[in-house]
Amino acid sequence: MKKLTANIVKFPGTNCENETLESLEYLGFDVSFISHNETMINSDLIVLAGGFSYGDYVSCGRIAKYSPVVLSLKNATLERKVFILGICNGFQILTEANILPGAILENIGGKFICDNVELNFLNRSFSLPIAHHQGRYYIDDIEKLNDFEIIKYKNNPNGSLANIAGLYDKKRYIMGLMPHPERNMITPFKPENGKIIFEFIKKTIEKDFYGLV
């Protein structure tokens, strides 16, 4: 069977790329890092991993949205099928760049939150770690999310609108989420709930991009 390919973007300040690489290799992806200056997108999955791109100067994801790779992402989805995943800082970049709608603000309590949180996604309940200071999702009109699958917090930790922890645009294959699936993936980090997210992405690519069931 064809080995799926994944690229993980390394911005100056990205710091979750190694866990993300191991998680995807564990599921059988052929994974490589690409530079933030890359403009050719030719993998099945592209991941904007967690961290502090460009030091999060001005605001989280603000500078990264003008990087060559992010500017190329907007056209990449038009030219070929590619799944885009933004985790934490990656989600912030996707909203800043208007690739996903809305914006992400400082947590309502003003504190950095590092915790395991309960989530709901596609009728499943599971926990994943979060670690962020700016994770409060906001959108001016919630109806803009009508066509999205929403990853929700069971107990809202940061003041996100409508308990939103992440978004999945199923038409354009773009997912952004504040929780870190790569930090709950490979033992000893039981119960490996990160697989729920990564396996969903893998199955979606296999089914929708290559017609495999």
Binding site: V58, Y66, G102, A103, L105, E106, N107, G110, I139, G159
Partner: protein, 86 residues
Amino acid sequence: MRQYLFKISTKLKDEIKDPQGQVVEKISKRLKIFNEINVKVGKFYEISFFAESLDEAKTKAGELAQNILTNPVIEEYQIIDIKEIQ
């Protein structure tokens, strides 16, 4: 080309809760400086650059503010001062 100095402030829109502002409000009340107070925390930028004219300078400063200094979904900006410098 002439050199201009711009002073711009940015802050969250009024309808969006500002946790840093809320902390300043809380402490001000605790210290009895104010009983009623409303605070919005923002950022201040001082920018100097060259442009052909004041109009061009204003346009460019606006572009900078809209594209890099703020996210129009959640933030707004105000040009505080603009002047030509020698």
